[in-house]
Amino acid sequence: MLELRNIVKHWQAPGAAPRVLLDDLNLQVSSGETVAILGPSGGGKSTLLKIIAGLELADSGRVFCEGQDISALPAHLRRFALMFQDFALFPHLNVQDNVAFGLVEQGQSRSQARAQALAVLQRFGMADHAVGRVWQLSGGEQQRVALARALITRPRVLLLDEPFSALDAPLRASLRAEFAAHIASWPMAVVWVTHDEAEARAVGARGLELQAGVLQQRW
């Protein structure tokens, strides 16, 4: 399904020598599989996700999806979804329009997209907040909206960048199970990046650790 071949990425802080962030990295994720990637902060996990999503270019290497080389394909044409650490909900849109955003981009009419968004929000227990502003939601509610927005477009690959890092521990545990259930209901490859090993073991059938630019099997 998703395959990364020989990805290399350098990073250079202003005034410092360049260092290798991703060093000849390879990865394969099948449809329906969730892979958890662990690693220290600043180790290149988020950069790896951005390269997969098409938001950043690798210095060398290729990205394949369903056997096709998509390395040069722009982000908006990949049909991947990326969830950000701080949710990246659009503050000028209400909850329902945030969720409907991707459907409108796929060419659906606004009314159709909104109706579908409302149905998904109901599944996530967020229908009461449909016309509310995103900044009025709690952290857990924002997280649910972000996941609903990511899943509604039926992405081929779901990328999660430390999705629970902004939440407190009890909420993190309850949401983890809820998220895992939602994700299991959609057939897609999932790459879940986190620095929390307990979270990684709970969600990932396979666990990898990104160290010195290389992925190593943990379980």
Binding site: K50, A53, G54, L55, E56, L57, P74, A75, H76, L77, R78, R79, F80, A81, L82, F84, D86, A88, F90, P91, H92, F101, G102, V104, E105, Q106, R133, W135, Q136, R149, A150, T153, L159
Partner: protein, 532 residues
């Protein structure tokens, strides 16, 4: 090849966006400035001609006083403004947001109206004199008061914003490590806000040094600045070469300050901090006293001149208000509206292009401030020299207006773009939006409040423009500002009363234009109110 902060090389569209403002700046600012330089070079290569402004005691005093009054103003606004900013940033009290909004008032008041306000308050026959005080006519205090009126709010707003950016956790860490509130301020908050203060002070210095309207009306023969001298040399003495030399000296003296401002602004262009220090209600008598003093000081400095104009105009009687219906006034009103509206359209196009392109090239961001560096007098003088055939033509006048107005739009949009998290666009792209669609559906709606705010300042600037109009317009193109100046130059109480009434009208017009555009910008999704 240049890369943006998003890591992608510029596309053709980025180059196209950059071209429009660059060509405009080249034609309307850089080429005229070079023409000024050439005019000054015509005086010959002798050192004597170039050093004349330093050797002639009269011109030397003009240059020295220009720098001195700008420096004194910087000191005054820092001394008054920093404590006020602390009160506004750290304390929560009824009317606080109203005060913050009132701080924008001086930005909107046209220069000539501000000068009239200071005269109505502290000039000959002013309210201050009527209440038993001495007139400030013939002293430097009139000009300094006018400068502080305009620039106190620049510093207070910048310092308030800076104090709100200070990391709450860093201050908390300092306190837990044994720092008193004062030590925490000195060791943690002060280093964090110092670049913001320096940036604001650079701007204040530039505004004061290159100011024209205030210095022309309030400076008098003794305390006029170098800008007034250049205008006098061109308009009355026809000594173009000498004016050119003086203009080059002015440019050389303001350039380092402008460069420092551009560098500081670039450094401050970072996304807004999330862990801000929470405001609290005043908890001691001292803190309540600080709130009262802040309100009092803002009233004295920022509101008093405006209220003085209204009071004097109302006191002038119904006959004076008849000037509003005179054909000359209606004609001037029409000219003000049409020139300002045309300039606003051009300034908006230029400002949007410039701000978008500046996200790709840091240098472009610095260039946006060039019109702030070169004073309106120098702009008009340079345009007059470079395009003599177009002197007193409407397109040149509108271009000059737009040149002075569009940095407000570019700056406002550039700040909003800096504050906009990059991952909004990433999220839109990952949800299937093409770059154009992501711009149209995410970035553009989020920029609306900043655009309207920038346009509001640009409109207020255009409506109150004075120096350029004085240089470039025809007699039949008199605007409200030039009409006020005309009345002010004629002897007699009737004309002074007419100038006061017209000042009220101009102030209402500038304020109306500002509110019309700024009002819908109150609900900013990029910076939502926590109580919304």
């Amino acid at each position: 090849m240049a890369k943006s902060r998003f890591g992608f090389p510029p596309r053709a569209g980025d180059w196209a966006l950059a071209c429009l403002p660059l060509v405009f700046l080249l034609a309307a600012l850089i080429a005229p400035a070079l023409r000024l330089l050439a005019e000054a070079a015509d005086v010959g290569s002798s050192d004597a001609a170039w050093l004349a402004p330093l050797q002639d005691p009269y011109l030397r005093w003009r240059l020295l006083w220009s720098g001195l009054q700008a420096g004194i103003t910087c000191g005054l606004v820092l001394l008054l403004g920093l404590p006020m900013a602390w009160v506004l940033a750290r304390l929560e009290f009824a009317g606080r947001s109203g005060l913050l909004r009132a701080l924008m008032l001086p930005f909107v008041v046209p220069t000539l109206v501000a000068a009239m306000g200071v005269l109505a308050l502290a000039g000959p026959q002013g309210l201050w004199q009527r209440w038993g005080g001495a007139s400030w006519q013939g002293t430097p205090y009139l000009l300094l008061y006018g400068n502080v009126f305009f620039n106190l709010c620049v510093l207070v707003r910048a310092a308030t914003e800076a104090l709100e950016q200070v990391s709450a956790s860093r201050v908390a860490a300092a306190r837990t490590l044994g720092a008193t509130p004062w030590r925490a301020f000195w060791r943690i908050e002060w280093p964090a806000i110092a670049p913001w203060l320096m940036s604001a002070l650079c701007l204040v210095f530039l505004y004061c040094f290159a100011g024209f309207g205030l210095a022309l009306v309030l400076g008098g023969p003794g305390y006029a600045t170098v800008e007034v001298e250049i205008y006098t040399l061109v308009a009355y003495e026809l000594q173009i070469n000498q004016a050119g030399v003086l203009a080059v000296w002015t440019l050389c003296l303001t350039a380092p300050c402008a460069l420092a401002y551009a560098i500081l602004e670039r450094r401050l262009a970072t996304p807004l901090r999330a862990d801000r220090i929470a405001r609290h209600k005043p908890q001691s008598t001292g803190q309540w006293l600080a709130v009262c003093l802040t309100v009092l000081m803002l009233g004295l400095v920022c509101a008093a001149p405006v209220l003085a104009i209204v009071a004097r105009a109302v006191g002038a009687g119904a006959a004076a208000w008849a000037v509003l219906l005179e054909p000359d006034t209606l004609h001037a009103l029409w000219n003000t509206l049409r020139f300002s509206a045309s300039a606003l359209v051009l300034a908006t196009v230029l400002g949007v292009c410039h701000a978008m392109a500046a996200q790709r090239w840091a240098l472009l961001r610095a260039i946006a401030f060039l019109p702030f560096v070169v004073s309106p007098v120098l702009v008009a003088f340079g345009l007059l020299l470079l395009y003599p055939a177009w002197a007193a033509s409407a397109p040149l006048l509108v271009a000059a207006y737009a040149l002075l107005a569009y940095p407000f739009i570019a700056k406002s949009l550039a700040s909003a773009l800096d504050g906009m998290p990059a991952h909004y666009m990433h999220a839109a792209a990952s949800l299937g939006a093409s770059p154009w669609r992501a711009f149209w559906r995410v970035r553009w709606p989020l920029l609306q409040p900043a655009l309207r705010r920038g346009m509001a300042f640009a409109a207020a600037t255009a409506v109150g423009e004075f120096a350029v109009t004085l240089f470039l317009s025809r007699p039949e193109w008199a605007t409200l500002t030039t009409l006020i100046y005309e009345h002010l130059g004629r002897p007699g109480q009737t004309h002074y009363a007419s100038a006061l009434v017209l000042s009220c009208a101009l102030m209402a017009l500038a304020f109306g234009a500002f509110m019309l555009m700024e009002w819908p910008a109150r609900d900013d999704p990029l910076n939502p109110s926590p109580h919304a």
